[in-house]
Symmetry: C2
Subunit: 308 residues, 2 copies
Amino acid sequence: MPVLYDRVALIGLGLIASSMAHAMREKGLAREIVGYARSAETRAAARELFCDRVTETAADAVDGADLVVLAVPVGAMGDIAVEIGPRLKAGTTVTDVGSVKQAVIDAVVPHLPDGVHFIAGHPIAGTEHSGPRSGFATLFVNRWWLLTPMEGADPAAVSRLRALCEGMGAKVDEMDAAHHDLVLAVTSHTPHLIAYTMVGVADDLSRVTDSEVINYSAAGFRDFTRIAASDPTMWRDVFLTNKEATLEILGRFTEELFALQRAIRLGDGDHLHAYFTRTRAIRRSIIEAGQDTAAPDFGRAAVAAKGD
Amino acid sequence: MPVLYDRVALIGLGLIASSMAHAMREKGLAREIVGYARSAETRAAARELFCDRVTETAADAVDGADLVVLAVPVGAMGDIAVEIGPRLKAGTTVTDVGSVKQAVIDAVVPHLPDGVHFIAGHPIAGTEHSGPRSGFATLFVNRWWLLTPMEGADPAAVSRLRALCEGMGAKVDEMDAAHHDLVLAVTSHTPHLIAYTMVGVADDLSRVTDSEVINYSAAGFRDFTRIAASDPTMWRDVFLTNKEATLEILGRFTEELFALQRAIRLGDGDHLHAYFTRTRAIRRSIIEAGQDTAAPDFGRAAVAAKGD
């Protein structure tokens, strides 16, 4: 594949940034990858594993870069923009990989000089692991990467960034930032909050021991623990910055939950059966769309057995 | 392994029963496996795949059996017990594989003749698939199988059944039926209800299209759809028969959810961060206990990529 950017600066070197670096290197999409992270340990890992050069400040990292990727928690984006803004050259594209888009645009754009293209983005990919050693080149393959360019965004800059995402194996879609935040409140933010809550309840319950919860988790609970194992700082920031949409979807959720709870209390089996039948069709569509594997139990039964 | 039962009758031939049949055959644990299911199609599949003999009625299936396994939805156990009771010989062990234990004991025991040993059981294993073609011999390997024998149960009958479960690869634990139902309300029943609810909400929301929900599900939602794809009849019965424990845990869940919702509304990031940090430890324990794989994303990222 052709080199798309001469120098890419990654600010923040966790799961997403390290996976981007591995993918860009493997596909030859960038001539040089420069990295910065706050922690010295992370910087050392990045130097060893996937960065051509690592700097001691974010401002130094963006020097001469034609693409800057902000891959820090959403709540830290504004401060980074303040720091790097004066060092950005005209024509540079700045993007981010945060899970919330409107709040990032609001925090970042005021601090960028004229002639810099800010195109917010969000790769819908990830695992429950974090940090510079958790990245891998195929993380984005067959996953969606949403871009939310603002009105009047430079078409050439957008299409170059799109080519980069596609070069790493992703499928790209463009949408409005506010709509993105609502969609993600449904498909990601509310499910995460619910999973965190359920895991917290289990941990709290004095009449059921921790070892019982752990041993008998294969009955459903363990799927919740996977998503409740994600990075706490990232998720705190998601909920603080996508407050309105999350609260709206949570309201819908509790309304429906109360209706099902009432059906249980009243012994209304028909209501329950109809509800549970409807949800099966969605699962089938997700598998057909290539967004999950059809292997039973995600294929993990065999994995666990092997390690036995 | 030694033959443990001369003739095993499987009543109901779905995921669990078919997996038991495959496992018993592979390990030589039963001399003959007889099966019955209500649907002619299921009976034909069982005859083809894993049963030595298939009968047209449940009563015929249990004739001369020394182990009878009730593997029908919890709500159907009572009727089956009425039908097979008169045909059971003294000394036969009857067990079940339902997800709720007290309600099954209450429904089944009154219809069994003296001299028959009823030992309720629950394998904590399963996938989101159902039916006679979904079973496989390793389903129970490294999984827990809970037995809830009643007071005064025959020790020899319990230990023979335990040996069968262990012979299929499971780890066995014994507990009181009521305690079982509370533990499972935490680790299985409430998580399933929540997953069903979240999937239903997503399906209902007119401002977000179905294809958006499906395409962007990799961000967390798809884990919910897997467990919300389970058999609707089975789950209806679980909630109707484990009503009290499920409602209790649901009450705890909504209480905690409201506290987190309030923290979001008030912008209390410290509360959120502390909560999300605590839940990570539970995930680690589940992996250490061998109840899930530590592979990122259940190892499925690579699977999905391969199919691309």
